[in-house]
Point group: C4
């Protein structure tokens, strides 16, 4: 994949997460520049469902823009820059406030996968609280220090919840970032209902997480969902092959 | 913005809150007349999703109509008149029965923000119970006395819940009134689920509310959502620029 | 309104309750023949969302058909016949299995209104259990004896829940039957969430039920919702004026 | 019904379960070959909502393909082969991860019917845990041994939940498989809410299950839903008569 294909895929991804209601008017998906791993692509500041190729900007890993072309960047681009910097294996990132997972974020409930398709979130999704590290803020991740702190909460994992705010997902690819966000949300919904009914939850075992995670990271699984979502959203003809 | 632009924006706002299901067939958004702060604009009595320019009427701050043109006004216009009267800073108001927040209204649960985007609701949303002040009624706010009582519950805040009924939101602008209603509802949904799962909720701190509230009151944030919602609802071409 | 207008309105009502998801593929709305109060109109057995004028049949109050024209009647027409017989004031009836209210029906929770718009359901909605009267059955109301028993549970009220099954709503008009079903469901949803979060529910007082019920029975209120729903469902041009 | 009609119906069924959100991008419906009961038809591996006639493959009851035509089969075809082998009365099967029923699967809650329309699920839906029989796996049913174990959990019943994964439904026909999946999900949703509100659930009695199950297995009931769903999904013209 070259940079141009990456940008095309990024536009689709932004529109898909809006279509799937993984984001509302806020949140963003980014992709590392496949031609230069020290840079990443991200839309200018606008609702993900409206993103077009013309909105895509390029950033260094300290989240400084290469050329703003008069456009306004997202103030939270540091979430992405820091995570790409700390994790060379991460090729795409989704930051979102998916409504259904927020009860876990406001109760600081560490999430573990209970669904086979959610094995991709890894053994544990910690809750990062910006207040623990930076005191009272406007809750946004707007500096490299904040981004680095969040990246360190993600560690070698796939995701972190952000207290009172949302979540961040580290993908091996754009498809993986979206797929993982989708099943992270589903896992949250299922856990919340299971806790509400007072049930004892059986989580996946460490080995189940490994094996089912490997399976659900494969292009077979993720490509099947991607094709389905693009078709539902009417993007079938935008699919990059 | 002149009165004509205000009316255009008001029509969009009524249709948007219907599209976003912040209202069902009942509820209303109003705007203070930018050319005469002693008056406000409000639709004749009809479902918000059907409002057109021809439906817009003008009222004094005691909620008497300037010219009904043979149309029937909402009986609850006093919610709006009283609040505009007591709060010169309020430029737009949304009264709604958003289904998802009603569990808090029937349990008289004072709402506090736990989400950064909900900081716009302010530190506390009280529950006003019409019965405490006026005994048994048909539950509607149909006099200046009732409107004044509700306005006094809102005080200097952004909103109040109304027991067994819904909520009222005081906006700095039409966009702010709709944005605040949207995230008031989301905050309610998240709190209800968090309480149901028995979790300990971490609310925003006072300073987080201030800082995140300031951020989410900015046109940058609210305009991004407004553009997104108008696009989803097919009103892109109605946008007043 | 003559019989022909009643049939037109009945077709719209069946399609509306399907559009509003108050019914799934099962359930039915009926109307008393305005030209002959000893008879009522009801579709042949089919999903409410597909009902057309050609499907409408006429029945006596013992639920015997006047002329089946080779069509198959609903086996549960006795719900309607018995209630029209026992309640001359009832002009339309909705029987439904609205998904959201079923938790109350399986827990035999008597419902009381906590929302002003739900005052139309009356002070109390009892749960009728067919097993208490007829032992083990296939759960359907398929005889006049069963219909009479259910009608007697409704009594002078507006509705009854049916254990493990759904509900029946007695309307003063077709609009009232649909309106009451809509807010009966909303009241159920709100109560279920309020109970789940462990809150203490404030119900409407008897006088609030009377006053707010009277208000929400008026054509002003019900007509506003009806116009809105017909517009949403694309039936605006089917509206009988 | 000949094999060709069965394939047509199978395509519709796959698209319907996607339309009804009984499946997301994963899950599958299959049908026994009416011309050769030792074989069954199943799509190649793709999202159910995208299945076409050209995707349908044929398998023996040990889940070996007759002719793959270069296409990739679902790895979980063994769920189907084993169940057709052990249950000659089963003519169609649905495997799904319907989101709403997953809280029961992660809490290993045996499901019993509390709704008359859910009597078709039979007296008890057990939870099969792959870990109990095969230790740590990737959670998929990918061998005949696993398929046989799951089939034995279904036993003579209509369905089983699969821990951390989803469910499998054994149908007397394609319509029955989809109908039973739909009301299995509804039963799950209702039970989860009823448990959350702390209510005492009244389940159907054994005889009610028999009688109401018989009723809801009839073509009258299932055909009514099928016609409705096909119409909603825009497949009315695909209906095989």
């Amino acid at each position: 994949m070259d940079a141009s294909a990456a940008i095309s895929e990024l536009v689709i991804a932004n529109r898909l997460v809006a279509h799937l209601k993984l984001v509302d008017s806020f949140g963003h998906v980014t992709i590392r520049n496949p031609e230069n791993p020290q840079r990443f692509f991200m839309s200018r500041a606008r609702a993900p469902g409206l993103v077009t190729k013309e909105d895509i900007l390029e950033f260094n890993l300290d989240s400084t823009p290469i050329d703003l072309r008069g456009l306004r960047p997202y103030s939270e681009r540091f979430i992405h820059g820091s995570l790409y910097k700390s994790r060379p294996d991460v090729m795409a990132i989704c930051h979102n406030h998916a409504h259904e997972l927020l009860p876990l974020a406001v109760t600081k409930t560490v999430m573990r996968p209970a669904l086979h398709s959610a094995a991709v979130i890894g053994p544990e999704v910690p809750v990062w609280d910006i207040r623990d590290h930076f005191g009272d803020t406007n809750m946004l991740v707007t500096t490299n220090e904040m981004g680095d702190s969040l990246a360190s909460a993600v560690g070698k994992g796939k995701a972190a919840l952000m207290r009172g705010h949302g979540s961040v997902i580290a993908g091996r690819s754009v498809q993986d970032a979206v797929f993982t966000t989708f099943y992270l949300r589903l896992n949250a919904e299922v856990l919340i209902k299971a806790m509400s009914m007072g049930g004892t939850i059986t989580y996946l075992s460490p080995s189940e997480i490994d094996q089912s995670g490997e399976l659900h990271h494969k292009p077979d699984a993720q490509g099947r969902a991607w094709e389905d979502w693009c078709s539902q959203a009417g993007f079938a003809n935008l699919l990059t092959k």
